[in-house]
Symmetry: C2
Subunit: 189 residues, 2 copies
DNA sequence: CGCTAAACGGAGTCACCCTCCGCTTAACTT
DNA sequence: AAGTTAAGCGGAGGGTGACTCCGTTTAGCG
């Protein structure tokens, strides 16, 4: 890869990161290209789909997350609290950008996309924790981590607010940690 | 309302219903207008937002659903099975059109839109079942039906497949009824 | 220094949303 | 039956964003 191309790529990921943070994952790609000072064609050449760009932005962050799962699975800690801790982290990571949980939900089924592979990595990591808990008799046997992950992404998705809320209602805010607690209770034997 | 306007309105709802069924709730509104044989302006005059059209399509269906809740709440039936039955129905109704659960999730916060009011109606209906169950000591006291409804719409949302699946993965299909079971377990005392 | 493949960039095409306004017509009045 | 008029109609037009294509530029090698 040519030096200029590499520079542009890095700049794009950097700009995308901050654009996702402020405007959610559905920001206009043309806007990102403009802010990065490159043509839209350059963005598309490097990241043919939006998901590729998302995956690039998330790369290191998600590697850390799988590492944590490995550590938690190997430590002698209580299986239940290990699961609780990791699911909390997982949910918080899926909540960093508005729209991300939706993208994750969509990508989870795609075998051969960058974001899809990342998600599969998360599932594999979580599976470790789940099966350990199942062997210890803490969790029901009729579920897979895919089910649990689905519920977690669903919670984040459901709790997510869209940017503008002109007629904000007086409905109570939903507490994602309460919902996670419901799920945790639901998966115990 | 003039006779021709009424005719057009009915035709639009009818066409929208079938378009939503085949293409999901995000179908092009221009396509709906075209199929209904009216101009796009006419559609927008009658249904200023997409949500208004959705609400019109769902109107009777959702009235029935609240009725069922009332009946279930008044019958001497077991509170737990009443809740299970109604949540199952609720989920199935939210799953009839791809994208509907998303629209519901968004609309739930809007006090003064047609779809928003419909959703609030659902929450009120479900609240009856929940509080009855809570009084009977069957469900935890720290949750509202809003939480439960959120989980249900989240499940539907998470399970929903997008239309085209070019690279369908070999991942197991998630079973929404299993996820509902997790939630039900999670809300019991 | 010259060459060339890699990279660039933005104009162009497409799809959809939504508004605005001149024309049409249902339906009431006399 | 004819006249009146406000309700209704429709589609052109303007805006936004995705994505492609191809003529131009340039990094980096020999």
């Amino acid at each position: 890869m040519r030096a200029d191309a590499l520079r542009n790529r890095e700049r794009l990921v950097e700009v995308a990161q901050s654009a996702f943070a402020t405007n959610g994952i559905d920001t206009s790609l043309e806007e990102i290209a403009r802010q990065a000072g490159v043509g839209i064609g350059t963005l598309y050449r490097r990241f043919p789909t939006r998901e590729d760009l998302i995956a690039a932005v998330l790369a290191e962050r998600y590697l850390k997350l799988t590492d944590v799962a490995l550590v938690l699975a190997e430590e002698r800690e209580d299986v239940d609290t290990a699961m609780t801790e990791w699911l909390t982290l997982l949910m918080e990571h899926m909540a960093i950008y508005r729209g991300l949980s939706m993208a994750v939900k969509e990508a989870i089924h795609d075998v051969d996309t960058a974001l899809g592979r990342t998600c599969r990595g998360m599932i594999d990591a979580g599976e470790l924790l789940l099966t350990r808990g199942q062997k210890a008799g803490a969790f029901r046997l009729d579920i897979t981590f895919y089910d649990v992950m689905t519920m977690c992404s669903a919670i984040v998705l459901a709790v997510e607010r869209r940017s503008e809320k002109p007629n904000a209602s007086e409905l109570p805010k939903v507490n994602p940690y309460l919902l996670l607690d419901i799920v945790l209770r639901g998966i115990r034997v």
